[in-house]
């Protein structure tokens, strides 16, 4: 087991704060970089993200070539505001419209591959309250500086108290620590070196993303790590300390649904890798309970675990990005 990855492939965003150097590297390598923001009712935070990235990483330092918003069907002003500040805005359902629509972050990320132009794609959540351009350049940096790194993932300060009563920023959120880390420890101990596998911010080369299946919902981060690990190994991945991230906190019930989707993705991956054999199909319903006027009632949500295939399998995608005769 490779236990040195955490030392060799962990970076800090400050390692890449020389933006002129990054822009020079990008130009020398002839790369285009897209920033993709998947949204659903993010009118309070979307404009700030676009304004800061446009100012710092497009106008002042041309590191990004485009900012693309892929929206799941917001009922607030998200799309309108994003357009006002100059992002390219798409409704997810309008991209590859002949495909049946699903709602979920993974669906937006997958469809974004069809409308973005970048050789590198940066995916950032759109609900980050303390957004700063380091969120993008920190993830882009290792991809430009190190030829062997093809995928980067963010981690943040999450202060937890240690035994000696000092506060150390290390662990992940509740779902990471209660679900993912135990699973990784049991089945893929190498992957425990990824400090926050569920962080919603990551970047990578198109040649990686286009070959991955995308669960449409919460499982997308887990499946991405497992699939990249399986296909290319740990060494093409890196993680970057982006310091603090402030966002909406989710209640325990919502985290339960997230854990359900992640577990389902994980178990399905295990089955497809031939590592486990289930005697019967997994169920699709997450069953939680609530108290309504003194009575306990089930609160059932269908989480089917639908996955999009690697987008490179779509003929229209291949025609657009890998036309016959084009050099790869």
């Amino acid at each position: 087991m490779n236990r040195t990855w955490i030392k060799t492939n962990t970076f800090h965003h400050k390692d890449f704060c020389d933006l002129n150097h990054l822009v020079a590297l990008k130009r020398r390598k002839g790369l285009k970089i897209s920033l993709c923001l998947p949204t659903l009712n993010e009118e309070k935070t979307i404009a700030k993200e676009i304004v800061i990235f446009k100012s710092e990483l497009m106008s002042r330092h041309p590191l990004l070539d485009e900012i693309v918003v892929v929206d799941s069907g917001s009922t607030d002003d998200t799309r309108d505001i994003a357009r006002t500040y100059g992002a390219d805005v798409y409704r997810a359902a309008d991209i590859l419209p002949h495909l049946p629509p699903y709602t979920g972050k993974g669906e937006n990320l997958w469809r974004a591959l069809y409308v973005t132009q970048g050789d590198i794609i940066v995916y950032l959540d759109a609900d980050i309250k303390n957004i700063h351009h380091r969120f993008a350049y920190g993830l882009i940096g290792p991809l430009l500086v190190n030829d062997h790194i093809k995928y980067t993932k963010a981690f943040y300060d999450r202060p937890i108290a240690s035994v000696d009563k000092t506060i150390r920023p290390t662990g992940g959120g509740r779902v990471t620590e209660l679900v993912i880390r135990p699973l990784f420890s049991l089945f893929f101990p190498e992957l425990t070196q990824i400090l926050q596998p569920l962080s919603g911010e990551y970047a990578g080369f198109r040649e990686v993303f286009e070959q991955l299946p995308f669960p449409i919902g919460y499982g997308v981060e887990t499946s991405m790590i497992l699939d990249i690990y399986e296909k290319w190994g740990l060494d093409i991945m890196a993680q970057v300390d982006l310091e603090k991230r402030i966002h909406r906190n989710q209640d325990t019930k919502a985290l339960g649904k997230m854990a359900f989707a992640i577990l389902k993705t994980f178990i399905n991956r295990k089955i497809s890798l031939g590592m486990i054999d289930l005697k019967e199909e997994l169920h699709d319903e997450m069953i939680q309970y609530r108290l309504v006027k003194g009575a306990i009632e089930p609160d059932i949500v269908q989480i089917k675990g639908v996955e999009r295939p690697p987008i490179i399998e779509l003929p229209e995608y291949r025609a657009k990005y890998h036309p016959p005769g084009a050099a790869r």
Binding site: K44, V51, K54, S55, R60, I81, K129
Partner: protein, 385 residues
């Protein structure tokens, strides 16, 4: 028309293309809490951003006011100061994350004075984009410990320690667009605190109530006769005290300002209030304390001073309606040192002192253009007479 007014409408259009950068500076600065006396994190960011914008000389003075110096073309001309106060009225416990809307930015301190500082940070890039060059050095100064109990310490120290003459100054405030401050009243800001020892409650039948004692202070101040000339007023601004409805208040505080266009009158009234406080302290046998929080001296430019006239012309060119009132800002410190200066506001907004203060984006382009015009006017000699 002067050379510095000719291009202003064109400037407004160029500034609109720089909206992202100006907004980014405003948001990044504003999201770092900077209550008075705790501005260090915002100061660090200010210097970091100035340096990123290619300002060669970024430093702090002996008081830790952050300063950026843009070299002018003439060695003989004194520098022009552009200043904005760094501190905000909100503590670190307040959520400082801003929301950018279609036409607005909302958040604690955006109008006091995140936009002002954000514009200050954007000036090097704005000068570059507009190809503006000046004879004088331009000193971009964020001043700390300015508002409230800060008592303008930052600017006082900066000017006291600045050894060479200063040509003129522009004080930048987030709002309100159209303000043209060129005079300041004499002012003393004070707090009167009444503290009643709870141990006395059991022993006294008529236990004094801190709120009622402050009420008596107010009544006696109200009975003071204030002259119409020199123009003088007392403003009762804040009051707080007590714990709950059914309990005698042990503690209460009253905040007030004495203002006048004559310093002697401010001092005289302050003396009267001190006598009132001393008298009531003896009468009620309680701890009644008068504390001077801040003060400034009356100072002004003439209405027909070339700088005032130049700014009025600039505002007219931009279609802005000027309004004037006395200012308690950094302006007073410049004027008291005989340095011609004005305070200008950048945009319009509402809820200035609220945590959900909201600034309008579009008016700021004219607001910034007027600041550029004013700097150009000073560089063209508006303060040299």
């Amino acid at each position: 028309m002067h050379a510095y007014t000719d291009k202003l409408p064109e400037f407004v259009d160029v500034l609109r293309t720089m909206m992202d950068t100006i907004m980014t500076n405003t948001v990044l600065v504003g999201q770092v809490p900077a209550p008075t006396f705790e501005e260090q994190a915002r100061v660090d960011l200010f210097l970091e951003r100035l340096s990123e914008f290619g300002v060669d000389e970024c430093t702090t003075d002996g008081f830790f006011n952050p300063i950026g110096i843009l070299q002018g073309s003439s060695r003989s001309q004194p520098p022009i100061f552009v200043v904005a106060h760094m501190d905000s009225p909100f503590g670190k416990e307040v959520d400082h994350h801003y929301t950018v809307g279609k036409n607005t930015i909302t958040g604690a301190g955006v109008l006091d004075n995140a936009l002002g500082v954000g514009v200050l940070l954007s000036l090097p890039e704005i000068f570059r984009k507009l190809d503006l060059r000046f004879e004088s050095d331009i000193i971009l100064a964020g001043v700390i410990q300015s508002i409230g109990k800060g008592n303008l310490r930052g600017i006082r120290h900066l000017l006291k320690s600045w050894s060479t003459p200063i040509r003129g100054a522009v004080c930048v405030e987030s709002g309100e667009l159209g303000r043209l401050n060129y005079y300041s009243d004499g002012m003393i800001r004070c707090e009167i605190t009444c503290h009643v020892d709870p141990a006395q409650e059991r022993s006294q039948r008529f236990f004094p109530n801190a709120i009622l004692i402050l009420n008596e202070v107010i009544n006696q101040i109200m009975a003071l006769r204030l002259p119409l000339k020199p123009r003088t007023k007392i403003i009762f601004g804040t009051i707080q005290g007590g714990l709950k409805h059914g309990q005698i208040a042990h503690e209460a505080t009253l905040g007030l300002e004495i203002r006048s266009d004559a310093d002697t009158m401010v001092k005289e009234i302050y003396g009267d209030i001190r006598d009132i406080v001393n008298g009531l302290r003896h009468e009620y046998e309680v701890e009644l304390i008068l504390e001077r929080v801040s003060n400034q001296r009356a100072a002004s430019l003439r209405y027909n001073h070339p700088l005032v006239k130049a700014v009025l012309g600039i505002m007219k060119t931009l279609g802005l309606e000027p309004f004037s009132e006395p200012s308690e800002s950094e302006l007073s410190i410049f004027l008291s040192r005989q340095i011609p200066a004005v305070t200008l506001g950048i945009t319009r907004g509402e809820g200035y002192q609220q945590t959900d203060a909201t600034m309008q984006i579009e008016p700021m382009f004219k607001g910034i253009a007027q600041i550029l015009g004013t700097i150009m006017a000073i560089d063209a000699g508006a303060c040299d007479g």
